[in-house]
Every structure is written in structure tokens, then in C-alpha cells.
């Protein structure tokens, strides 16, 4: 996971203008996540309270967690793709321990967080909840 975080940070460090940065973010989302993933887009996967719709689903396999996501807005899709990229394949314990704020490091937190319109904090919370739930059920 550490390596994936580093990769995201170094990828984004290449871009300076908002155009380049957002272009990369949007492309990242479009490449990583399926287009209009119908099975994902169910109410039970919806993160409530964001301005754009975000669906996030988690599955466990061999003690690792895998995340799947979609959004109807391009920027949000890029954000949630970063989350999927970083956390997918990590163990629940790793996820809970990980405290790096990637979005701060790539210069998007100040612009995009601390409010409910994109739901960034809610996505991260859901990832964390998934990990906690997994550990609880394991016992």
C-alpha cells in the first residue's frame, strides 16, 4: 500500500496547472473504474449526503480487501478511484493503520475536502468502516 501511495503522490507531482492535474485525475478515474457500472450503482452502495453520487463496494478475498467504486461526476470518480487504487488488495489491519493523507499531499485536500459536496471524507470513512467490519466478523 505504501508503494501505491508513493506512486500516486509522484504521479500528481508532475502536474502544476489545474488543467493538467484535473485531467490526470479524471483520466485516472476513467481508466481504473468501469464506465457506468450498473451492478455497483445500487442504493446499498451509495454514499449518502454527497452532492455527486458515489457508490463504493467492498469484497474480501484471502484476507485482503478489494474495493469497487463509481460516481456520476468526473472529479469525484477520480477521487474515489485513487481510494480504490490505494486500498484495494490491502489487509484490514493495514487499512486501519494507514494515516497518510494522500489528498493533502497531492494538493487536492484544501480544494476539495472539508465539505459534503464531494464526500471525500465519507468515502475514506466507508473504507475504514469496511475494514473494521471485516475484523469484527473475523472474530
Amino acid at each position: 500500500m505504501k508503494n501505491r501511495i508513493k506512486q500516486i503522490i509522484s504521479d500528481f507531482s508532475l502536474f502544476e496547472s489545474w488543467e493538467d492535474k484535473y485531467e490526470h485525475l479524471i483520466e485516472f478515474g476513467q481508466e481504473l473504474l468501469e464506465v457506468d457500472n450498473k451492478s455497483l450503482r445500487s442504493d446499498s452502495n451509495l454514499i449518502h449526503g454527497c452532492q455527486s453520487k458515489v457508490w463504493l463496494f467492498c469484497r474480501a478475498e484471502n484476507k485482503k480487501l478489494y474495493f469497487y467504486a463509481d460516481s456520476d461526476a468526473l472529479i469525484t470518480k477520480g477521487l474515489v478511484a485513487i481510494i480504490v487504487f490505494i486500498y484495494s488488495g490491502a489487509s484490514a489491519a493495514e487499512i486501519i493503520k494507514e494515516k497518510t493523507d494522500v489528498f493533502l499531499s497531492i494538493g487536492l485536500r484544501k480544494k476539495l475536502s472539508m465539505n459534503r459536496s464531494n464526500g471525500l471524507d465519507m468515502m475514506l470513512e466507508k473504507v475504514n468502516d469496511c475494514a473494521l467490519n471485516y475484523l469484527k466478523n473475523e472474530k
Partner: protein
Amino acid sequence: MMDLFDTAQTRKLFPYFCSGNRGANVYFDNAATTHKPSSVISRISDFYTQENSNIHRGVYELGMSATDQYESTRKLIHEFIGSNSAKEIVLTSGATESVNLVAQTYGKKFVKKGDIILVSPIEHHANLIPWQVIAKENGAKIKEIPISKDLTINFDELDSVLSEKVKLIAINHVSNVTGMSQDIGLLVKSCKKFKIPVFVDGAQAGSHIKINVSELGCDFYCFSGHKLFGPTGTGALFIKEEFMREMPPYKTGGQMVSKVGFQDSTWTDYPLKFEAGTPNIAGIIGLGEAIKFIQNIDFQQLASYENYLSVLMTEKLAEVPFLELYGNSKKAAPIFAFNIKNIHHYDLAALLSENGVLVRSGHLCNQSLMDFLNIDGCVRASLSIYNSEEEVYNFIQALKKVVKFLSKSV
């Protein structure tokens, strides 16, 4: 009197625009909150620096002077909105509290089981949910005021929903999404037959049109200070005297009581009966300055300046391909809500912000209007007296750029 066509001059009165980077942005989110003239800001500082005191109770001059100042805001608002007396003005913390107050006092007492509260399907949440709550509490029903496709009251169908069962009708004066106004005067006339009290949410009106509650003939009228060049945490609620008398208090506590026993208490006279505890003294005194500021505006010139901006906005927005504008161009306030086909409103607003244009997006706290329009959100650009022609051009330029950028990716 200010010359509103001289925006450079107007902006000088608002320190925000002289405060560096942020002030250089195009601030088109005035329906969320307006900036404050220096007279308002310095009134608050001066109060805390030289005149700070609690009110209504002190026997010393400092306290009496603060009381005086606080009460003079009440008088200013009475004059500003044309009520019969200052006694008809309750000072509140904002429009939301004002609606809740009426729902939980008038509503609690007079809306009975099986009664109806009529609310338009295009209201801000603040003018919908408090009515839902009291209706549920008292076993009453919420029904819709019929609205035409053009987003104004459908007076042809209105009669069919009016009856003795209707105990209140709640509607906005000016829409926070479209900037269009409702014909309150005609609504009041239509309600006369069944003596239905009319509650008007004027949160978006005061900074754009002249309010006169006596002419409108409504029974309740409310607004927030912060959307009217005044401080946050302030607002006012006009209640016709006949209702004032009958309504039980809202919050209870100090200041609003006349006799207190351990089991039971009696209330002091209105309007103080509705103002329990220490109010937002400095804020209300600042609100007085905001009202003075507005009274120094020629409302006819305001209308023509805002109309000028609106015509320009409408014209320029029409140049953007696939843009759908909601509401018609007969606006009472320069508020513009729109979507662009295949582009998400959040993406638009977020990237406009990257380009120094501050607008809002989403459901705009008006889910039912979104449902009415069958959309899940939109972008809103809302202008005020200090916005300029140049800013309209900058906004349109940024919008086109962002649309082009986002269109590539779809």
C-alpha cells in the same frame, strides 16, 4: 444615495473586495450569503470595544444604551418592511429559526388533527421541513400549492386546494434557485375567503426588491440578516399583531417572563415574549447598520441595475451550447440556475472555482424544486449589487473554458 452603476465605488464600501486574492475572485454566491459593508463590520467591533453590555435588565447607562441600540434595529426593520409597528417585529437568529418559531407556536396551537398546511413544491428546506414536522406532530397534512410550469403559483388551480381546513399557507417571496418572485398580494387576496394566514419566506427578497408587508397583506414574513449585507446569526420575523397576541412563546427562559413560579410561569408582552435569553446583541446592532445601508439604496435604480446584469447574464448564458437555464427571465433577483448537458454540476462548480469563479452547485437546499424540474442538482450563479458587467464576462469566459475542458473527458 449610492450610484449602483458605479460598481467600483460600491465595491469600495465592502472591505472583502479590497482584501487581496480572494476579493479578486468572481463571487457569484450571494444567495448563500452576501458580503458586509464596512459600516456593519465596524459597528460590531465598536460595540464590543466601547459599548459591550447585556440588555433589557441593567440599571446602568451602558446597559440602557445597548438596549437602546438593540431596540433601534427593531424600529429600523419595522420601517424597512413597512409593518404597522415595531411591536410586530421579532428579532431572531435567521430565517430558519423564524420558520421554526412560527411552526412551533402558531402551528402548535392552531393546526389541528386533519387540518392542512399548504406549502409550495418549490421551497427551500427551511420553509418546508418545519411544516412537515408540525404537521406530523399535530396529525395534520402537508399539501401542495399548485405551481405552473413557469414556476409561479397557478392561480387557476389555487381555489381547488383552499378550504377551511387550510390553517396556513407557506411560500417564498423570491426563489433561491431561480430568482423569480411570487405574487404574494394576489395570493393573500385569494386566501381571504377562508381567512388563511399567509407565511412568506423573504430570505432572498430584501437585497433585491422593496419589501412592504402592509401592501403584500401577509401575516408572517421572515428574512436572514446575513443575506442582506448583515451579520450571521441575525434575522427578523414580522408577525401581524393579532397573531402575536395569540401565539404561545417559542424558546423560554430569561427576559421573556413576567412572573415565575416553580411550577408555572407567565409571559411578558410581545415581541419580547418571543426573545428568550441573551440575544445576539452585537449581531442585531450590526443588522441595524445593514438596514441603514440598504435604505440608502434607490430601489428603482437597484431594479434597473440588477435587470441590466440579468439581461447580460441571460444573453451570455445562451451562447453556451447545451446549457439549460431554469426559470424564466422575468427575475426579481439576478439568480441563475442551470445545467449543461452531460456535464455534472459538481464538476462544473469545482472547476469554476479553480478559475476564480465562486458559484454553488447541488440541490441548493431545495430538493423539491429539483424534483419538480426532474434534475438531481444544478449550478447556481447569484449576483448582488457589487457585481459588475466585467465579472459577468469573466464568469462566462471561465464557464466556456471549463465546459470545453470537461467535454473532452466525457
